[in-house]
């Protein structure tokens, strides 16, 4: 006899409580994550700290989590050596281990959930973790996101070849991985992040050919400007990169142009480092349903975080760059948009914006259907972004669905921010008018076989159904209300493919 008020086909009762629970889970073992873990441990909590470094070579090839640009040595394939480097490059990790924090390297967090609206069935807050071989879940009482920041990268001709990379990626390859494969750099940007990465590169014995700045003046502190100039670094202000020219091994030189005069200049380099801006890595908070808002002074879309550590979710906290990029200001996103505007004015419309789905800027702004659908119909050809905007404000998720920009295996890391900036430029608005394109679990692109729950709960297997398991839904219409109804109900059960 069935119990009143229970649907055996619903999710409740099928997601078991996590076998393992920790009081505090810290995602990200950088300075902020390690400090947060130490603090929690000092307060007596049981703490698990995970860090995804060293990232597998497969994910690096997809530019996860940074825009690596393929400029790493073969050392990244040597897992043991990489693990050693990652650990020894970060003394805070050793301190955490000594203090009794459990530290797991090469483990990523691809999703996290807390019980609440739409998820009443979840027995406990849980995070999804994975290494190269398998995925698992761990329960937590408190989750501290110390996921850091990611480079905002922009497109120009040749940006999709090896050697064009982000500043954060360069920093990681130099300091954490010791696996950078370039020698001579051109750096885009002249603000504090560009200055910092230039100083780091020089300290590591690399050549820095030039810093290229779209605005008329150097953006960073004058002391840094002078010191770098003294070290032989050239500052090219009022210039836009027009093309990165390269060969089989990637970039060989960068051509820049003065948009005012049209004067061209060629910078010899094997690496172009995009140091235009950083954005907080908020993907897990978005999956959790935590509040995010465009806050240029924090570097872009950042957690709504009263006091800088709390989030809109009681169980979830933020620490470090994810809570706000140090040195960001109210003008930070406007500066990125100035870069985008200049690149749009000087580069050809065929420039690829979304590398995974091969969407050009022209196709994006025309809201053109993807090339696998062939030539657009006359009706579609008559439509573009301008006409779409007549129906309502620009929405990146909508444009993503139509053009596929941001729909590829890199999960939009390479083009998310620049698509938003392009939509802002094309609709004559500031970037805060473009809603954040949603992040979806898994926020790391994991193979089916890795992500799979091979050990699912018996209740899940026993009651799994294609759809809701409502038998009456699938009775052939002609049989409804006839004597055949019970026969069909008997042979079908609730199951029917949709």
């Amino acid at each position: 006899m069935s119990v009143r008020g229970f649907d055996p086909k619903a999710q409740a009762g099928k997601v078991p409580p996590p076998r393992r629970r920790v009081e505090v889970l810290v995602v990200g073992g950088g300075p902020a994550g390690a400090a947060a873990a130490l603090e929690a441990r000092a307060g007596g909590a049981q703490v698990l700290l995970i860090d995804e470094n060293p990232v597998s070579a497969g994910l690096m090839g997809l530019d996860v989590p940074h825009y690596w640009g393929g400029r790493y040595t073969t050392a990244v394939h040597t897992r043991a050596r990489m693990l050693e480097h990652v650990f020894s490059a970060n003394p805070a990790l050793e301190a955490a281990v000594e203090a009794g924090v459990e530290v797991e390297l090469a483990v990523s967090c691809w999703g996290a959930w807390v019980p609440g609206y739409g998820l009443a069935s979840l027995p406990h807050p849980i995070a999804g973790l994975a290494d190269e071989e398998r995925a698992w879940t761990v329960g937590f009482d408190r989750l501290i996101l110390a996921t850091g920041a990611r480079d905002v990268v922009l497109s120009f001709k040749g940006w999709d070849q090896p050697g064009v990379m982000g500043a954060r990626a360069l920093q990681a390859l130099l300091t954490t991985y010791d696996a950078f494969a370039g020698r001579r750099l051109a750096i885009l940007g002249s603000g504090p992040p560009a200055m910092a990465v230039a100083r780091l590169a020089l300290a590591r014995g690399l050549e820095v050919a030039a810093l290229i700045e779209v605005r008329g003046t150097v953006q960073g502190p004058s002391a840094d400007h002078e010191a770098l100039t003294a070290a032989g670094v050239e500052f090219l202000t009022g210039r836009v990169p027009t093309v990165a020219v390269g060969g089989a091994d990637g970039v060989e030189r960068l051509e820049v142009r003065d948009p005012a005069t049209g004067a061209r200049r060629v910078v010899d380099c094997d690496t172009v480092v995009q140091a235009i801006g950083l954005t907080p890595v908020v993907e897990l908070l978005d999956v959790l349903g935590g509040a995010l808002a465009m806050q240029p002074a924090l570097g872009g879309y950042a957690p709504v975080s009263p006091g800088g550590t709390r989030t809109s979710l009681a169980e979830v906290f933020v620490a470090g760059d994810v809570a706000g990029i140090p040195g960001a200001s109210e003008g930070t996103v406007a500066y990125q948009q100035a870069w985008m505007r200049a690149l749009m004015a000087t580069s050809e419309p065929e420039v690829v914006v979304c590398q995974c789905e091969e969407v050009s800027r022209e196709a994006l702004l025309a809201v053109r259907q993807p090339t696998y659908l062939g030539e657009p119909s006359p009706s579609l050809a008559a439509r573009d972004l301008g006409r779409l905007l007549e129906d309502g404000p620009a929405n990146q998720d909508q444009i993503k669905r139509l053009t596929r920009a941001g729909m590829g295996p890199c999960q939009g890391r390479r083009c998310r921010e620049q698509v938003a900036l392009m939509l802002a430029c094309a609709s004559n608005q500031t970037a805060d008018h473009i809603p954040l394109a949603s992040y979806r679990a898994p926020v790391r692109p994991l193979p089916l076989s890795v992500l799979a729950a091979w050990d699912e709960a018996p209740a899940m297997s026993a009651h799994w159904d294609v759809w809701f398991g409502i038998t009456s839904q699938w009775i052939p219409y002609a049989d409804v209300g006839t004597e055949r109804e019970s026969f069909e109900a008997g042979v079908l059960g609730g199951e029917a493919p949709l």
Binding site: V3, R4, F6, D7, P8, A10, Q11, A12, G13, V15, W113, G118, A120, S121, L122, P123, I126, V287, G289, Q369, P370, Y372, S377, P378, S379, L380, R383, D391, G392, L402, R404, Q411, S438, R440, P442, P447, L448, S449, L451, A452, A453, E456, A459, M460, W464, V466, W467, F468, I470, Q473, W474, I475, P476, Y477, V480, G481, E488, L492, P497, L498
Partner: protein, 396 residues
Amino acid sequence: MSAPSRTGAQVLVIGAGVTGLSAAWWLARSGVDVLVLDKGLVGWEASGRNGGGASHYQSPLFHEEQRLWPLMDDLLGYSTEYRRERVIFATTEHHLAHYRQIARQCRDLGYQVDDLDPAQVREFVTLAGDNVLGGIHLLRFGGQANPQRTVQAYAWALQDLGGRILQHTPAVRILAAGGRVTGVETPRGVFGCDQLVVAAGPQGERLLAQVGVRLPLAPARAEMIVTEPAPLMPVGGADGNGMYGRQTLRGNLAYGGGPHEWMDVDETGPQTRPSTPLLRNLARRVAELLPKAAHLRVIRSWAGVVENTPDGRPVIDRLDDPGNLTVATMSSVGFGLSPATGHAIRDLVLDGRCSFADLAKLSIKRFEGLPDDWREAKGWRPTTHAQALEAMAEQE
């Protein structure tokens, strides 16, 4: 009917999901002045977040669904990514027996279905493995489309015919007087109409209650996962193993199925809750169904909030009171049927009866006398893990 007015329309449609948009498009094709109101973007809820399947042999609209889909790209003027054919295949005897029953039902309706042996399945579904026991092949019918592209195609095709859509304009109240709907109140003002169509998904119940109409609905979330692209298989519409889904024309594998989560939805509609840990159970079943795809990376997931009626069947009904009100809910199975549903709604609005199918069993009247606590009785309310364990213990 009155002359077109910018502050109203001959026919107002509440809800720019596939059902509302298709209805509006069909009405516009008949020269009717139509205005669609939506709380958000076109097709933003479950209409754009589903498996895209188009073979609903249980429905009275099935023949019209099958007739229309191959024509839709041309009729709309935009691509829907519709592709015909479907292979449903099994890796367990239980599923195989079940699929054979589906084949029988389709043959009873006059459609050709072939039984496939394992080798034939692998010929059509090249990512399938050695675990295949057999399958069925829906020939020259069935198939799938891209929900996201299709909803936008409806919206654009409607605009091309002069129809209007107001996004970000929620219907707050249905206004009625003298047994007739007179208009709809929104934050942008009141829009008058001669006829109203309510195709508002989970929000329909609350809206209709304002005019004394009871449409019993229970909202729930269902979710899917998507992999990176694989080379195209000879038949992309290939599913089974307790899942619905397809290989898209781009090559991605998109599959859903498994347990749903009952929800409560207020006037503003569902809040975002795109996925849950269920994506791991889906990943497992895709890897079992298509072992040669097990290495593919899962790159996103999505969920749609759908509504179900107590018997899981649609309501498509022109009411007696108010007499100028047509109500539609597809009870969680709306996307694939939408070309036919829109046609049926057009007929009900303009002619008072559907020209191509008997819809008598989809009348709202069948729920008269339904107890107020029907959702509690079925357990179709948000349920916690602890409550579920208690109920399961009682069952044993």
